[in-house]
């Protein structure tokens, strides 16, 4: 109703009443556009994220809304395609969205930051804010950073830093094989791994650096044969979705005995695919896992109750952090205006059940605790009804995950 308040101040009360009559009482005041894949190969991730965002938005609304106004989630299917995303962004802007949420695919995120920046320059007073919950290309908070983009997931370099810290302590690791998807994110993972291993453990040999096509490989057996021939004892991979599951399945079939250091070993289906063979060998780095806290968080349990079933297994803790921080920022700004909320978010700190989180002011990258965990038997909360679940190896506090940034952003006056 902020438009109406302004209209009343401007003296056009009748216009405001007419608008209210046309719009009806059910119309939300703050529109949030969720632009992510809702069809095609990556739809499963997109739809799970959609449910998670809806869940936390409902929680904000149930608690009285954002400064008294209701949030509404509008969903747009971008098929993980940057061009399609820009068309959907245009639609969202036409429908009055002031906040944009996206996560799947750094290529999409780069296109969106650029488009949002241009829109905001050309439409002062109608700025939109981009909340990124999963696109982890470091460029987004470095050379490509903008005032309008906030990232609530640790970037690829921060995750690699946590992972290589654990690797550095394990003297058994001697030969590492890198296998990643052939696009910006996969290359970023490979580059970070090579650089950080050389710094922390110069004695480790990188015996392979493989890039394979994104989501196109049906059979990873040839790659596994190569890993084996190279004599690797550890494989580092940023693979996600099918590429993660099929890689690990091929490794299991060939009896490959390596440690899997992954970003997305918790991808739906991965634990099921590797099964017992993954116990003590499959590791992941993430901001949360089911056994991160002694008891499941109340909201995780409530989510499972509202969305039962294996395909709805809770995965986006960072969405919880994001929406709670967002609501707190709006409260602090005493406004739902994106510019004011953005200013309030900068440098904001918040306590969570896992520890303190902070939104960096210099590059808009969240600092949150990171966990390196291993698949284990006999844990309290298992994954995908396999009886196997994640056990923490190491926890890195939010502050310690910070890395230097090259970001120089223009702030609105």
């Amino acid at each position: 109703m902020s438009g109406c308040t302004r209209a009343v101040a401007g003296g056009s009360l009748s216009l405001c009443i007419a608008a209210a009559l046309v719009a009806g009482p059910a119309v939300a005041d703050v529109k949030v556009a969720f632009i992510d894949p809702l069809s095609g190969g990556a739809a499963s991730t997109g739809i799970l994220a959609q449910k998670t965002h809806q869940f936390y938005i409902d929680a904000i609304n149930a608690a009285g809304g954002l400064n008294g106004e209701k949030l509404e989630l509008l969903s747009y299917d971008n098929k993980v395609n940057p061009q399609e995303s820009l068309i959907q962004l245009k639609r969202a802007l036409d429908e009055g969205a002031r906040y944009v949420v996206q996560g799947n695919g750094s290529g999409v995120a780069l296109a969106l930051t650029d488009a949002v920046q241009k829109h905001n320059e050309r439409n002062p007073g109608k700025e939109v804010l981009f909340l990124n919950y999963a696109a982890v290309d470091p460029a987004l908070t470095n050379e490509k950073c903008t005032f309008w983009h906030f990232r609530f997931d640790a970037d690829a370099d921060m995750k690699m830093a946590a992972m290589t810290d654990v690797i550095a302590r394990d003297k058994k690791i001697q030969k590492v094989y890198l296998i990643n998807q052939d696009y910006s994110f996969g290359k970023a993972v490979a580059a970070a791994a090579g650089k950080m291993l050389a710094e922390k453990r110069p004695d480790i040999k990188v015996v392979g650096d493989e890039l394979h096509p994104l989501q196109k490989v049906n059979d990873f057996s040839p790659y596994v044969a190569k890993i084996k021939a190279a004599g690797a004892d550890t494989v580092i991979t940023g693979n996600w979705s099918n590429d993660m599951v099929l890689l690990i399945k091929a490794g299991k079939d060939a009896g490959l005995k390596v440690e899997w250091d992954t970003y997305y070993g918790g991808s739906p289906g991965a634990v099921t695919a590797i099964g017992e063979a993954g116990v003590d060998t499959l590791k992941q780095v993430s901001e949360w896992h089911r056994n991160a806290t002694p008891e499941l968080d109340a909201s995780v349990a409530a989510f499972a109750k509202r969305f039962p079933g294996k395909e709805n297994e809770y995965a986006y803790w960072r969405a919880k952090t994001m929406w709670e921080m967002f609501a707190a920022a709006a409260k602090k700004a005493q406004s739902n205006d994106p510019v004011k909320v953005a200013r309030a978010l900068e440098g904001m700190k918040m306590a969570t059940p896992l520890g303190e989180v902070e939104m960096r002011a210099d590059n808009h990258q969240i600092l949150q605790p990171l966990y390196v965990s291993t698949l284990a038997k006999g844990v309290k909360y298992d994954s995908e009804d396999t009886g196997l679940g994640w056990k923490t190896d190491a926890k890195v506090d939010g502050k310690a995950t910070a890395l230097p940034t090259t970001c120089k952003m223009d702030r609105p006056k």
Partner: protein, 316 residues
């Protein structure tokens, strides 16, 4: 080195036989009958889902029989009530019909089993290492897949070349009026061929379902490659399809193992491309990275050099 070559050769043969298994039904439908069936991979996917479902209800071995039967019946129905009507309007109508059907099947599968991959695990009966080569185990289900693939080839070969019905099928493709005038039921032959082709796709789905991921995008994942196999092998040739499958499987597997680029080859030949040159990045792509385009490259080359494929009897 010997280890990598042996294991790669084995992987190549496995992948080749997998490709043949996936495309055997299409060989019959497209190559023998001349129907451009874009829904073939979708029938394969349905086979995978049915096998998953029936495995849960009645166990793996019965499912191995039920899923292909169900797919065969579905195929017969598609031919009798759909394709037969559009067949008269030529290839374009067929393509549009089967193309639309592929989308309908995908949506139906999504409605029934959801968008996520179902946990279609390797059945316990074939989930053990068959033998070990250089420390790499070879799972039994891959052995089963190879056996089924070879059996499919033998069955099709005998059925087409050594039986009366095989002769009628081949004749019905080129001279339908004559065959019909001789008293054979040509529409009946088409229903039968389509049903058997779909049943083979269903059987491939049972095995392929747990080797790949059983999810609604499965049809998209294998759709293009089966056409490549049939076209490279040559229309109208069963042996051609087998040779093309093995060729693609082995070429692609070995390409993955090669870490050299064109740049290295040029360097060995004494040609040096400057680092700043626009060619440097393109030529620097390792063969391993480019491996998955090998089949499509082969397809394009084949169509340019020899449009009828390896052992084809007519042009594509």
């Amino acid at each position: 080195m010997l280890e990598l070559v042996t294991v790669s050769l084995l992987n190549g043969v496995v992948y080749g036989l997998l490709l043949f298994m996936l495309s055997s039904g299409l060989t019959l439908i497209f190559s023998m009958m001349g129907v451009l069936n874009f829904a073939h991979a979708s029938v394969f996917m349905v086979g995978a889902y049915l096998a998953y479902q029936f495995s849960r209800w009645v166990g793996f071995w019965p499912a191995l029989a039920i899923a292909p039967l169900a797919c065969g019946l579905a195929g017969a129905a598609i031919e009798r009530f759909g394709l037969r009507r559009v067949h008269a309007h030529g290839h374009v109508a067929e393509i549009l019909f089967t193309f639309g059907l592929a989308y309908v099947i995908e949506e139906l599968v999504t409605m029934a089993w959801g968008r996520n991959a179902v946990s279609n695990n390797v059945p316990a009966a074939v989930d053990f290492p068959l033998f070990t080569v250089f420390g790499s185990t070879f799972p039994a289900y891959k052995g089963l897949m190879m056996a089924i693939s070879v059996a499919m080839f033998a069955f099709l070969f005998v059925a087409l070349k050594k039986t009366r019905i095989g002769l009628v099928i081949q004749a019905a493709l080129t001279h339908p009026r004559m065959v019909s005038a001789l008293g054979h039921d040509v529409p009946g032959v088409f229903v039968l061929v389509f049903a058997v082709g779909s049943a083979l796709a269903g059987l491939a789905g049972v095995i392929g379902g747990f080797m790949l991921l059983t999810q609604p995008t499965l049809a998209h994942a294998i759709g293009p490659i089966v056409f490549v196999v049939v076209v490279v092998g040559g229309l109208g040739s069963l042996s051609g399809a087998l040779i093309a499958s093995m060729l693609i499987g082995i070429l692609q597997t070995f390409a993955v193992a090669v870490d050299y680029s064109l740049l290295d080859a040029l360097r060995a030949g004494g040609v040096v491309v400057a680092r700043g040159s626009p060619w440097h990045e393109l030529l620097g792509v390792k063969l391993a990275t480019a491996a998955p385009i090998v089949p499509y490259l082969l397809l394009v080359l084949m169509l340019i050099v020899r449009p009828r494929g390896l052992l084809g009897t007519r042009d594509a």
